[in-house]
């Protein structure tokens, strides 16, 4: 071959790696990289539908109310309590609960997030079930805690235990209570916005809609582009308002195009965003958490 191109070998280009490791290239050690396998982050399987129905004692559950419902939308929390009690759940609320830590975790402050997560793990240590009326906070406790404590085996064990007990509201209704028809009534046309974490982290896709379909007097219409994010994303909505608003504009346009009078979702974060956008346009469309729609039962209507 003509010419003399400088010959170096792969071990030279990989030297930054080798240098950080005295004896052996980490290449040879890392047969099982810690967190690039999602296998260790897969949450426990949800209970089989109807699992609880055969049991005689009513299911005991703790409510994790979420900050946004506690502080901004307390009536949603009230509806959650009423629906769960109506379905026979022995429900309690630990009054010293605060935040699951998701805003900190999402912003990269995982040490601080762990501080709050530890409180949650302690608070719900003895719970049989923890019901969370938010796909996002539920995903935090069910999925992301496992990432948050990945380097702390003792805490990870506790996190795994909690993970197996955490259910998002609609998921709890369908998977644990086996509820198909909550005996609810609502008059109007509704469309459903699936929140991203509920859909993609909690893998809850059809449950809320099947519950909505069982509500008498409610007509459910499809939302175009339903599975596209509304642009909330927590701090994202403040950090990059122009992008968040662009995403919101599409969502609002799609919601309006359905002709529905009510927009239903399982996350008040999304509903604060979409509701805020609708309200800015002086739209008459109401935004409701699923629990609020299920709250009215036949008896209270008659």
């Amino acid at each position: 071959m003509p010419g003399r191109i400088r010959a170096i070998s792969w071990s030279q280009i990989l030297s930054p790696v080798a240098a950080s490791n005295t004896t052996q290239s980490p290449l040879r050690q890392s047969r099982l990289p810690r967190s690039c396998l999602s296998a260790n982050l897969t949450p426990a399987d949800p209970a089989q539908p109807g699992e609880r129905l055969s049991s005689n004692s009513p299911p005991k559950a703790d409510l994790f109310v979420t900050c946004i419902i506690d502080q901004l939308y307390p009536q949603v929390g009230v509806s959650v309590v009423r629906v769960l009690r109506r379905l026979g759940v022995d429900l309690s609320f630990q009054e010293d609960q605060t935040c699951c830590g998701q805003p900190l975790y999402n912003a990269g402050y995982s040490k601080k997030a762990r501080t709050l997560a530890r409180r949650v793990l302690d608070t719900f240590e003895d719970s049989e079930y923890v019901v969370v009326p938010s796909g996002s906070c539920a995903a935090m406790m069910r999925v992301f805690y496992l990432d948050l404590f990945r380097d702390d085996p003792a805490m990870l064990k506790q996190a795994e235990l909690l993970s197996s007990k955490v259910y998002e509201f609609s998921q709890f209704l369908t998977s644990v209570l086996g509820a198909e028809d909550t005996g609810s009534t609502y008059s109007g046309t509704a469309t459903y916005h699936p929140s991203c974490h509920l859909l993609r982290e909690m893998k809850v896709r059809d449950e809320p809609q099947s519950l909505l379909r069982s509500v008498s007097g409610l007509e459910l219409t499809d939302l175009p582009g339903a599975e596209t994010c509304c642009g909330f994303g927590g701090a994202f909505s403040i950090k990059f308002p122009h992008i968040s608003e662009g995403m919101l504009a599409d969502k609002v346009e799609n919601v309006v195009s359905t002709g529905a009078d009510t927009l239903v979702s399982c996350d008040m974060g999304c509903l604060m965003q979409i509701g805020g956008g609708l309200s800015r346009q002086d739209s008459e469309i109401k935004v409701r958490h699923l629990a609020q729609v299920l709250d009215q039962d036949h008896s209270s209507n008659s």
Binding site: R6, W10, L116, M247
Partner: protein, 489 residues
């Protein structure tokens, strides 16, 4: 390396989001590419598709876990086939190797098929500095080369240009009469490039895959330019990242099924070229020399980082861009460097430095649509979070980049949320503040129908630009619980 403008993400995205022509172009990525991808998956069945994805992921995990072994094997087999392998630690070294090649072989004209890595290295200016005329031969790349821009999209680099703009560009740069008929434009490019193919002494290509077992470079294209670039000139240089190596031809099969379907919805691309060494004695044509430049340029650092290694599994199909609601709003150039979209938001900070590109991992609502479509199931949102963690808390000060305000907010938030009493107190304080403001003559809020329409306050004003905000209610849920709910229904 290509000019890095990643620091301008916020400003650049605020401009691009308002560009009506980009809006139109970007609608295509959802309705065109993504719809085609979905149709292709439905055709094979989503279940089988998931099996392919899992298999592809397994192959990538294995290949990267044993990268040293497979790079060795690849080098041996390329050499055995009569080719030469060069390893480059960084962009400078890669460009030096190229420079030495063109100097010693007296090369004047080079044709190039599409290569993102060469964009990353700024190979074209380096070659031009050696007196070599370089011609991009992928139509999209050719257009952006004439326009002196960076790729807008991994798969469709000139997606943002209208046919009218391309026609004008051709008139300006090629001196041909204006004609915005798409076929005429393609014909004009073909005419201009055909001549270059015949004159070129050097053909440069990227690689979609490198097969270790056989020493084969694989490129898949739709225009045939890759095959011309790699066979007509007397020298062929393949240049690519070291993560492209896979063990065997058998492993290649699953990627050939996944990549075109994910990228454009095609079952297979028009051309799949597998190149093993230079021409052999009994070959009728082909290059006399074959060189393969394998580039690190920051990849070994990603490999060593368990939180980022997964990004090296990427096969650059662009599906995550097409589904990403942020990319669909801001487009490719706002990302400020070579790799746009969700995967770009991971690769770019990893290669150019997190401090240089700290906005990119933040500019995501973490909706997870990217992960759902990725043919190798890369957990993009998780890596964005890990990059955010490095920004906020990395022990390495060169990575830590979060500002004072976010740090203070995080600290304050943690303190309040650590204590239920403080949380109650701050709600009361907020209520009081809200009432005081309501009573003030210069009210920083304007309200309508129980919602706050405009809040002239830091942070909140960013919310109320286009969204109304609920007022703080009188009672929190925990107040109501204690009062009405605790004792049962």
């Amino acid at each position: 390396m290509a000019d890095i403008k990643t620091k301008d993400f916020s400003k650049a995205s605020a401009v691009s989001i308002l560009d009506p022509q980009l809006r139109r172009a970007l609608r295509q990525v959802g309705t065109g590419f993504d719809a085609a991808r979905r149709a292709a998956i439905d055709e094979v069945s989503p279940k089988l598709w998931d099996e392919w994805r899992e298999e592809a992921r397994r192959i990538k995990i294995h290949s990267l876990d044993h990268l040293d072994y497979y790079l060795d094997l690849l080098e041996q087999n390329v050499t055995k086939a009569g080719g030469h392998v060069h390893f480059a630690k960084d962009a400078a070294q890669a460009n030096d190797i190229m420079a030495e090649l063109v100097r010693t072989r007296n090369i004047k004209i080079a044709t190039k098929s599409k290569s993102m890595v060469s964009e990353e290295l700024s190979l074209n200016p380096a070659l031009e500095a050696q007196g070599v005329d370089v011609y991009e031969t992928d139509l999209g790349e050719y257009i952006i080369q004439l326009a002196e821009e960076t790729p807008f999209h991994l798969v469709a680099p000139a997606l943002h240009k209208t046919k009218e703009q391309v026609a004008q560009l051709f008139t300006d740069k090629l001196g041909i009469p204006y004609n915005d008929d798409i076929n005429a434009l393609a014909a004009a490019a073909r005419l201009a490039l055909r001549e270059k193919f015949l004159q070129a002494d050097l053909g440069i290509s990227g690689a979609n895959f490198l097969v270790a077992e056989t020493g084969t470079l694989v490129i898949i294209t739709n225009e045939g330019n890759g095959r011309l670039s790699t066979s007509a000139p007397r020298i062929h240089v393949g240049i690519t990242g070291m993560e492209k190596v896979i063990p065997s031809l058998q492993d290649l099969a699953v990627f050939l099924r996944l990549l075109p379907r994910s990228a454009t919805g095609q079952r297979i691309t028009s051309y799949v070229s597998m190149i093993t060494g230079p021409r052999r004695a009994d070959d009728e044509d082909g290059p006399e020399e074959f060189h393969l430049i394998i580039v690190d340029n920051g990849r070994s650092k990603m490999l060593a980082d368990p939180d980022l290694r997964e990004a090296l599994y990427c096969i650059r199909c662009g599906a995550c861009l097409n589904i990403c609601p942020v990319y669909q709003k801001v487009g490719g150039h706002a990302y400020g460097w070579v790799y746009p979209g969700p995967i770009g938001a991971i690769v770019t900070p990893s290669l150019v430095g997190l401090k240089e590109a700290q906005d990119l991992p933040q500019a995501s609502s973490l909706c997870g649509a990217c992960r759902e479509v990725c043919p190798v199931n890369i957990n993009i949102p998780r890596m964005l979070l890990h990059l955010r963690q490095k920004s906020a808390e990395s022990p390495d000060p060169s990575e830590r980049s979060a500002g004072l305000v976010p740090n203070l907010l995080a600290e304050g938030y943690t303190r309040v949320m650590r204590s239920p009493a403080l949380l109650s107190a701050s709600h009361k304080l907020g209520r009081w503040q809200q009432n005081v403001w309501a009573a003030m003559p210069f009210f920083p809020f304007s309200k309508k129908g129980g919602m706050i329409r405009k809040a002239s306050l830091p942070l909140l004003s960013r919310w109320t630009r286009m969204r109304d905000l609920p007022e703080l209610p009188k009672e929190t849920f925990r107040d109501i619980w204690k009062k009405d709910l605790k004792e049962g229904p």
